[in-house]
Structure formats: C-alpha cells, structure tokens
Amino acid sequence: MSIDTKTAANVAKLARIRVDEADLPALAGEFNAILGFIEQLEEVDVDGVEPMVSVTPMRLKRREDVVTDGEQQGRVLANAPEAREGFFAVPKVVE
C-alpha cells in the first residue's frame, strides 16, 4: 500500500491539521516509511485471536449515577483562550 499526496491531504483534513500543499509529498513519504514498518504485522497468524480490549482482566467499577461535582464555572473557564459571559467563545459557527 502506498499513500499518495491526495490521501495525505485527506488524512490531514480528518485530523484537523493544516498542511501546506508544498509539504504534502514529504508527509506522504514519512507515512509510507511508517506504514511499511507496520506492514510486518501481516506476517502474523491471528486467526481465532480476539483483539485485546484491556491488558489486565478487570471489570470496570460501577458507581452511583449521581452528581458529585460542579458549580465551578470560573475554574473551568480560567484557561480558555477566549471566554465571554460565562461561555467559551469561538468564531461564528452558524451563518
């Protein structure tokens, strides 16, 4: 499998990372080097092997479905690049 610049551009778009047109060939080359390395996995016989979900056989704990936290608007917003009137502020989303 080989990644061309069009696929590289699509991956960048899916990852929401802007990549200049001029940088796409180099990026595609790096992807191909890494994917070439990963392709060794095709040699392994994985028939009948379940994909690992959890490395330690443990059942996740349950807890009561109750509110245990909250009322911290100031602290939640304290690190926002832009906050207004108690909300995170972003560029216009809906025209």
């Binding site: 990644i3 590289a8 991956v11 960048a12 899916l14 990852a15 929401r16 990372i17 802007r18 990549v19 990026l27 790096e30 992807f31 080097a33 890494i34 994917l35 390395f37 990963i38 392709e39 060794q40 996995l41 095709e42 040699e43 392994v44 994985v46 092997v49 379940e50 994909p51 690992m52 979900v53 959890s54 490395v55 330690t56 443990m58 996740l60 704990k61 807890r63 911290q72 602290r75 939640v76 304290a78 690190n79 926002a80 690049p81 832009e82 995170f88 972003v90 560029p91 216009k92 989303v93």
Partner: protein, 494 residues
C-alpha cells in the same frame, strides 16, 4: 555533612528523622544546584518559592513526629503531570500558558505525603520521542559525556529532563511516565533506576494522556531502594481512573530482602538482536551471571512475538494519541492561532493544531487518524490489537512455566549524540525495542544501571516481572544493583 544533593531518598529520610538536616536545607541545596544547571535544560518551570513553603511545612510535620517517608524530600515533576497553579505544558506549544486548576492524583499523593516539588521537568512533546529533542523548550542534555569528548549527548526520552535532573543531583528523585520505554530508556542512558509499574498501579488522572492503554507513571531514582519508597507513595487505587487497580500497595522497601535463591530468571532468545553492540551483549551475560551467583536459576526462554511488538505499538499508540489529542482545539485551554478575517471554526482548529503541535506529534496524530479511518480499521488497528494479545500470551506462558523475572538489555546502545541525523522516523523508534513489549503486556519493568561502555557511558539492564509483583521485582533488581556495584557519577561540566 556531605553534599546534600548527592543523598538518596532513604538517606535523606533517615537524616531528616534524625534531625541531622532539614527539608529547607535540602531544598535550598537542590535549588542552588538547579540555578547552576541551565545548560542541562532539565528544569523548565522552576518553583522555588512554592518549594521553600512546602519544605517549611514538611519540617514542621517531621518535628511533630509522624511524617511519611517522602516527607521533606525535594523532587522534580515531569511536565506531563498537571500541577495546580503551575504551568503544565507536556512540552508543547499547544498548552502554552496552561495552569491547571487541579493536581494530578500521583503528584497530589506525593504532595500530600510532604514531598517538595522543585519545578517541572523537560520531556519530549506529549511524551512522543526517545531523545528529548521534540520538546518546545529545547533539548534536555545528558550530564554524562563520553571520555575525552565534549559532544552533547541525549538523556533519552521521553522523560529526559527527569533523567538528567536525577543523574546530575538537581533533585533527589523525579516522576516519569512510560508509554513505550520513556522511564526505562532515559534511566539507562543516565545511570539511574527507572521503574514502570504494572498498568493500573498508578492513577492516570491528571496526567496529560498520550496512549491511555499503555501510559503509566513511575519513579526515577538513584537507587532501587528509593524506587521502592517513592513508587509505593505514587501508587494506589483512585476512583477517578477507572483502570486503576483496587489492590493494596505492599511495603516494597520491606520486601528488599536480598534473597533470590531458587528464583527463575528467564533470558529471552528473541532479544539477542543482530548488530547488537558487544558492550551490551557482555553487560547482559554478566548480569545473568550475577543473578546466578546470588542463587537464581538462569533459564533460556522464548517470547516468539517480540519482533512484532514495535510495529503493533506504532499502530496502537498513534491511534490512541489521535483520539486523546483531539481535545486540543484552541477552545478550552492553551494556544489558539491568530485568525484571518473570515476564518471560521474549522480554520481555527486547523491553524491552531498546525501551529501548536510539533512535527513528530503531528506525524503520530495523522498516522493514528489513518489507521482508524474507515476501511483500514480492521487491517491495521484490529490486527495490531490481536498481535498485542499474542505478545501478552507469550509472557503469560513463560510465567506459567515458573519464570519469576526476565532479564534483558534496557536499550540497544548507550546514549547517542543530540542532533544526530535520523534518516526516517522508524530509526528513532528502534530505541524502544526492548522496553515496548512490557507496555503492550501491561507488566512491571525496571531499568538498573550495571556497567559502563568503552567510553565510560552508563548502560543498564531491564528486569521484567509478573503483574502486581513490583516488590519481588525490586528485590531482584536490588540484588543486581548490589552485585554490579555501579557507583560512577558524571563529571560536572555544566
């Protein structure tokens, strides 16, 4: 009294309890050492005022007579840990200016035990790297140099600042995190001890996430005894991390009996790599001989899927990273790109992430995006998770056959020069060839310094233990440490 910064945690604890020194004195000595060590690039956010305040409080607690072992001990904290009110950036531009409103569980446990945070330590960006060269702060530098050379060497990565700081005596010990070898490889490169606990021993809450099924925090210390003391203080169940194990944490220090007679130590044949330097080969066989002399049985074992660990890791870790790092969007914290007139929210995301992430992080996020994308999920991600199950099965089988611990080299070489040309990203990934299997199988592993190469650079061996048996693992590690008698320190040039 000897140089306070050269003390181990155990020595300092005893001296504090005996009234021979104070936490304020210890802390001042470390702060002074840090001030003179900017050339190492280890401490990237210094917190001297906070440190002295905590040291005073620790001295009061020690005087009152019921202080825990870590009380008054000056530590460095990796920048990956969120620390309340103190910059926590994961060495990334995208978290520029971020000061958490909360404290990670692990650093909080150390703080509550009375440990003194001296500041935050350099690392590879988002813990992605093996040389500390992907950091927004610039490189951390190894205090060790090859004999007769002034070439700057890497302290390893990603916990490079932690390793450099401990090896140079800037702090008594430091926290690290390990996703594929990020505690053990830098420990081996700097002649210190690094413990990666069993997955689930330390809470991940408040530690900036890289690959959630692999990430684990652990201590980086001067001795195995210190790893036992500090490790126990970092571990324990936390309701805020659903993968943290609800198991009691034993007194690891009390388990350091020095007796390993009858223990079975496995030597995996697949770890004997083509082109492995003679120095490493020799170190490994000498280590096995030391454990044999101490009464252990040395047994050749096979872990047949070892070869596939790195490729499986480079599917699973980027996949999890692409998901975890989706949160850096310029909305809730950290960096937001300057926008042009007319830019909408998509431009904000794309520009923020393009400017905020470094090259290696972008590469891994995009690889992760690719292997999880429609049409490739089964071929890459599910296949890697199946191979991971086989890697874990290899270990389960040798443990079931009575093997107590596995001895391997920690790294394929000693520390290499900073700025070395790397032909492709995969070449750097090979640093983790001996350590990454342990993360995939969720096992505890410890790097112990046991020798020096022809240039005088430290080299380490790795011991891998059964799940949850850090106590027994550390006991074996201490036997190896004592037999090797590694006492060399880097000559001060900084």
């Amino acid at each position: 009294m000897a140089d306070l910064t050269q003390m181990t945690i155990a020595e300092a604890r005893d001296a504090l309890r005996g009234g021979e020194t104070s936490s304020v004195e210890l802390t001042r000595a470390c702060l002074e050492a840090i001030e003179g060590a900017d050339a190492l690039g280890a401490f990237v956010h210094k917190t001297p005022d906070l440190a002295l305040e905590r040291a005073k409080a620790a001295d009061e607690r020690i005087a009152a007579g019921d202080a825990p072992a870590m009380c008054g001990i000056p530590l460095g904290i990796k920048d990956l840990f969120c620390t309340q009110g103190v910059a926590s950036q994961a060495a990334s531009k995208i978290l520029e200016g971020f000061k958490p409103e909360y404290e990670s569980t692990v650093s909080g446990k150390l703080r509550d035990a009375g440990a003194v945070m001296l500041g935050k330590l350099n690392m590879d960006e988002f813990a992605m790297g093996s040389s500390n060269e992907t950091s927004v702060y610039g490189n951390a530098v190894n205090p060790w140099r090859a004999a007769g050379s002034d070439t700057a060497l890497t302290p390893g990565g990603s916990s490079g600042g932690s390793a450099s700081a401990v090896a140079a005596g800037l702090c008594l010990a430091a926290t690290g995190t390990d996703t594929g070898g990020s505690i053990r490889q830098p420990a081996a490169f700097t002649g210190i001890v690094g413990l990666k606990p069993t997955y689930g021993r330390c809470s991940r809450w408040g530690i900036v996430a890289f690959a959630s099924s692999l990430d684990q925090a652990g201590p980086m210390t001067k001795t195995v005894r210190d790893a036992a003391i500090m490790g126990a203080a970092m571990m324990g169940h936390d309701p805020r991390d659903s993968t943290s194990a609800d198991l009691p944490v034993p007194d690891f220090e009390a388990m350091l009996t020095g007796d390993i007679s009858g223990k079975v130590i496995g030597i995996p044949k697949e770890y004997r790599m083509d082109g492995m330097p003679d120095d490493i080969e020799k170190l490994w066989s000498e280590g096995a001989a030391m454990l044999k002399d101490a009464g252990a049985e040395i047994r050749d074992i096979s872990l047949p899927h070892t070869k596939y660990a790195l490729p499986a890791y480079y599917v699973i870790a980027p996949a999890e990273a692409s998901s975890n790092l989706a949160r850096y969007d310029g909305v809730r914290y950290g960096y937001r790109a300057e926008l042009a007139p007319g830019d909408g929210i998509t431009e904000m995301y794309e520009k923020t992430r393009a400017e905020g992430f470094g090259a290696e992080v972008k590469r891994r996020v995009m690889i992760g995006t690719y292997v999880l994308s429609a049409g490739f999920y089964d071929a890459y991600y599910n296949r890697a998770r199946r191979v991971r199950a086989l890697i874990k099965r290899d270990f389960d089988e040798v443990f079931a056959q009575g093997v107590d611990a596995i001895l391997t080299p920690a790294t394929p070489s000693a520390a290499f020069p900073l700025g070395k040309e790397v032909a492709d990203p995969v070449e750097m990934y090979l640093n983790d060839v001996f350590t990454v299997t342990v993360n995939l199988a969720g096992l505890p592993g410890v790097a112990v310094p046991t020798g020096q190469d022809a240039d005088g650079l430290p080299m380490g061996l790795q011991l891998i233990g059964r799940p949850w048996e850090e106590g027994e693992l550390l006991n074996t590690a201490q036997v190896l440490e004592s037999a090797a008698g590694f006492v060399a320190k880097p000559a001060k040039w900084w």
